[in-house]
Symmetry: C2
Subunit: 397 residues, 2 copies
């Protein structure tokens, strides 16, 4: 295989908005992959397709025919995303070496305990045989099942990319992704991949969005740039009661979701906050989110490890009030954004699956057992041979 | 890769009785794979698991959670079948080079027309990441989607194995598999793989079984060795009316199923046969099955091609009355059984997926476009790397 490869990563999130497609150049340097993002695009799903995906992901019972067809239909969408991306990048399909496709999660049921092994399951769809057939490119897909087969949670997988993007010999770096839920990847100075720490810190935008939606009677569904929060005053009593949430006492590895920090908690907050100004309530849940992130560093990272900078990503990076609250709570650490490193924060997950596909074809494991709970490192994904399969595995003459 | 490989093929049929597991030795000889069946076993499913599979395969709506879990649970069963098989064969797991797993079909929706390409879909479960993880062996799985991505029906795939087992330079051979439905593979003398003809000839045991079940009020569910039929007299008028079925006028490639030759037709036959003796009715549907097979040869094969022998397989090979009826209708051809070639007729499908897995890892296509309707030959399946993945793709020093 050439020392420089063009790899496309594909991903669709649980909100089912469309296919994130990232074209990445990967070059080996001193035994480490160096990544450069060349082009990123989102191919939105039609309203109808989005509804079908959300229905298939719900608890609603449906005929297996629907899943069967949807898997193939989404395969076509992912293939289209590849073709559009190469057109936008002005690079012929033939020059692409590998595709890594996460697919669309429609169910993720991680094991409840680590023993006995193998009681979790997960279902990602978007038939990768279609992607390989339409593009002719060898495709690696479906990354989560192998980690779960090895007893892991099948998540988080992105810390593997964070490590390769931000590791440093001389100082500690963290990546704080603020999506619906917030998660942290911490990379100690001079770390090996097995030294990486990663876990969910707690709420991300989820609680702020839910409170804004309810308080504005759905006129707004998020606090753009944190402007509403910036006009309010944080209510200490409410904040302190929120910080008593039992999740913050748990030790990592830990993960959380919509059940703990979603609309249920938003309702409870609004009830408790009766009589307070809307802006004050929004400022308080924003502060709560900032505290829950900062506390994770204060309690788990800073007492034991060196940390120079935190790279903030996800939608929460655009909430200026939240960003500066976190910065104030962590004065010894420099807060940055993905964009400060010429990266597109939206492209990170798709880039992660490009890297994992590359590693699998090179016979390299890309789960982090301490992070996912797997019993050992494993090669992730399933390889669907494209026209270039023979040359990928062929021997140099 | 070594010139001799040990490959395990895994398959579970639509009746969901258990996992067929075949250990095959494959050796390259003059550019062709030579197969030797070493051991064959069936690992039966529990009653509960069988019911779950049949429910998931039905038209009943069910929660996606169930499919998600069942996929992983069946993966464990397929992995167990591998471990049991190697124990029975007294061969350590480490000596197995490749596993080929068909999985369990829970839905197969072939395209209704060949254009536009890609409107079919199929769903096989039995998570192969579990198989690769539990056994450490590189696993190739899920063979049908790629053929369908290329516009094919995703079936039949076994003719590829038939060709490699029975091809002859000097005479024509056919394989007639009599399962629920009957299908034929015809291999002309000195044929290349692209010369193979394969299609469903019509009913297999399906109609005989349904008639026996109804006439005996479910005391019997099939005609053991054809004994009931041997005691009856074929009723010519009834036979002739059955032979007018429009399926026999269609030209191959063609395929049929339960809708055309199942219980619906059995009910019709019994109604038409009112007043006739049970044995006569059974003899007549057995003759109908024999005629429908023999006519396929008389009309499609014999006018154009040479044919020396037909190898009969499937449950129908054990129906002596059916077997001798077909022989009488085709006096110029020698009828044989798989067992005459030291093969186990039950093992054929599992052997087919062992061979296809081997071919895919060697970069060789194993669909037959003229047979499946695909637009071109494709590498079938998805490769899940095992511990031996690097050595499989490694270059000789």
């Amino acid at each position: 295989m050439m020392s420089k490869s063009y790899v496309i990563g594909l991903m669709s999130g649980t909100s089912a908005d469309g296919v994130d497609a990232a074209l990445v150049e990967i070059e080996m340097s001193d035994g480490f992959p160096l990544l450069r993002l060349k082009t990123f695009q989102i191919l939105p799903f039609s309203k109808k397709l989005k509804q079908m995906i959300l229905r298939a992901s719900s608890h609603e019972a449906l005929a297996v025919d629907e899943i069967c067809k949807l898997n193939f239909q989404l395969g076509e969408e992912f293939a289209r995303a590849v073709i559009h991306l190469t057109q936008a990048a002005h690079i012929p399909l033939k020059m692409i070496d590998i595709i890594g496709s996460h697919g669309q999660t429609i169910k993720h049921l991680p094991p409840k305990s680590l023993k006995p092994i193998g009681f979790g399951s997960t279902l990602q769809i978007g038939e990768p045989s279609i992607i390989a057939e339409r593009t002719g490119i060898t495709t690696v897909a479906d990354f989560r099942p192998r980690d779960m087969a090895a007893g892991g949670q099948g998540a988080p997988l992105a810390p593997y990319l964070h490590y390769h993007l931000f590791r440093s010999l001389n100082y500690g770096v963290a990546v704080q992704n603020i999506g619906g839920i917030s998660n942290m990847t911490y990379i100690p100075p001079g770390a090996k991949i097995r030294d990486v720490i990663a876990f969910d810190t707690g709420p991300g935008n989820m609680l702020i969005d839910a409170v804004v939606t309810k308080l504005t009677h759905q006129k707004l569904d998020y606090d753009k740039e944190g402007k509403l929060a910036s006009r309010g005053k944080v209510q200490t009593k409410l904040l302190n009661s929120l910080l008593k949430h039992p999740y913050f006492k748990k030790k990592p590895p830990k993960s959380t979701g919509r059940e703990e920090f979603g609309t249920f908690l938003a309702d409870k907050v609004i009830q408790k906050a009766k009589g307070l100004k809307k802006e004050d309530i929004i400022a308080t849940v924003t502060a709560f989110t900032a505290y829950s992130i900062a506390e994770s560093y204060q309690q788990i990272i800073l007492p034991k490890f060196k940390l120079k900078e935190i790279v903030i990503g996800g939608g929460g990076a655009r909430n200026k009030t939240l960003f500066s609250m976190i910065q104030r709570l962590l004065p010894s650490v420099q807060l940055k954004r993905f964009e400060d490193f010429h990266l597109n924060s939206n492209a990170i997950e798709a880039m992660a699956f490009a890297l994992m596909a590359y590693e699998t074809l090179h016979g390299k494991a890309s789960n982090i057992p301490k992070v996912t709970g797997a019993s050992h490192p494993v090669l992730l994904g399933k390889i669907i041979p494209g026209n270039n399969f023979k040359s990928l595995t062929a021997c140099p003459k």
